[in-house]
């Protein structure tokens, strides 16, 4: 029993360290330039984060309104019941994304120089 408790303690320490590392690696991302919008796994369009704009996305069950302002993007309105994507706020760093599960919309920031896959994997 004692051995297992020791196993637990080691395990939990390792897991907490791993979580912190994951966050640190993620936040290393630099400011992104492009915003990729996809619905239901298909890429719809790529927008520039430098131009302020308002964009309507037709999602799986309803429409969402995306706002790009001062180099960041946020969801202004969502037709889904939980509105998690609206609450999530603004994204601007490469690799960050806003996801609306009910509408199957993913909006993600791509790095300026980096290729798409590397930027997303961050």
């Amino acid at each position: 029993m004692l051995k297992r408790v020791r196993g637990d303690i080691i395990l939990i320490l390792v897991l907490i360290t791993a979580s912190v590392l994951l966050f640190v690696l993620k936040d290393n991302g630099k400011d992104g330039k492009l915003l990729k919008v996809s619905v239901n796994g298909r890429e719809i369009c790529t927008l520039s984060l430098d131009e302020d704009t308002e964009y309507e996305i037709q999602g799986f069950i309803s429409k969402n309104i995306l706002i790009i302002e001062n180099g960041g993007a946020r969801m202004k309105e969502a037709g889904c019941p939980d509105k998690l994507c609206v609450k999530q706020g603004e994204i601007s760093k490469a690799g960050e994304s806003i996801i609306c599960l009910p509408n199957r919309i993913i909006v993600s920031v791509e790095g300026g120089e980096e290729s798409g896959i590397d930027a997303t994997a961050k």
């Binding site: 029993m1 297992r4 408790v5 196993g7 637990d8 395990l11 939990i12 897991l15 907490i16 791993a18 979580s19 994951l22 966050f23 690696l25 993620k26 990729k36 996809s38 239901n40 796994g41 939980d82 998690l84 609450k87 999530q88 690799g95 960050e96 994304s97 996801i99 599960l101 009910p102 199957r104 993913i106 993600s108 896959i117 997303t120 994997a121 961050k122």
Partner: protein
């Protein structure tokens, strides 16, 4: 025959209990990050794993997931929930056999595996972008697994005796 009836009654009891936890969880406000939640019903799954063994835990878990998808969450969530429930239960049962950790450690790993399985499903359905949520889901899995594991350990300690009495008579 008597023993079998007792087993059915016990499974039914556990399913009902898990279902109540699902209900309570459905009433709690959602967190900022999609996918990160407490997973209260997993207390019962842990209990079932410790007391009735793998088969009982699997039955309780599957019935609960299907029921709560039908009533609270909608069918779309069923794929996510099923993937998380089945894979994490398999891993937890395996870890229990290895005897390396207590129920708390097993629950922590179960929490992570559950979230990673759901993330994989999301990845298949929505594309690679969801990987950005990995740190949240990982840390969320560790924390909720820890929380559920500690509660589960306390409950199992108290329930175990009553449980073995139930089957002996």
């Amino acid at each position: 025959m008597q023993q079998r009836n007792k087993k059915i009654a016990m499974y039914a009891l556990l399913v009902a209990l898990a279902f109540i936890f699902s209900y309570v969880e459905a009433m709690l406000p959602g967190l900022q990050v999609p996918g990160v939640k407490l997973g209260l019903a997993n207390i019962v799954v842990l209990m079932a794993l410790e007391t009735t063994g793998f088969a009982g835990a699997l039955i309780v878990s599957l019935v609960r997931v299907v029921l709560s998808a039908l009533i609270f969450k909608g069918m779309l969530s069923l794929i996510y929930s099923l993937a998380g429930a089945i894979i994490s239960l398999l891993v937890m049962a395996l870890l229990k056999k290895l005897k390396l950790f207590t129920i708390v450690g097993i629950s922590c790993i179960g929490g992570i595996i559950h979230n990673m399985a759901q993330l994989s499903v999301a990845c298949l359905m929505l594309g690679k972008g969801v990987i950005a949520y990995l740190p949240w889901l990982f840390a969320g899995g560790v924390l909720s697994g820890l929380f559920i594991g500690v509660i589960g350990a306390v409950i199992v300690k108290r329930v175990q005796k009553a449980y073995s009495n139930f089957y002996r008579k």
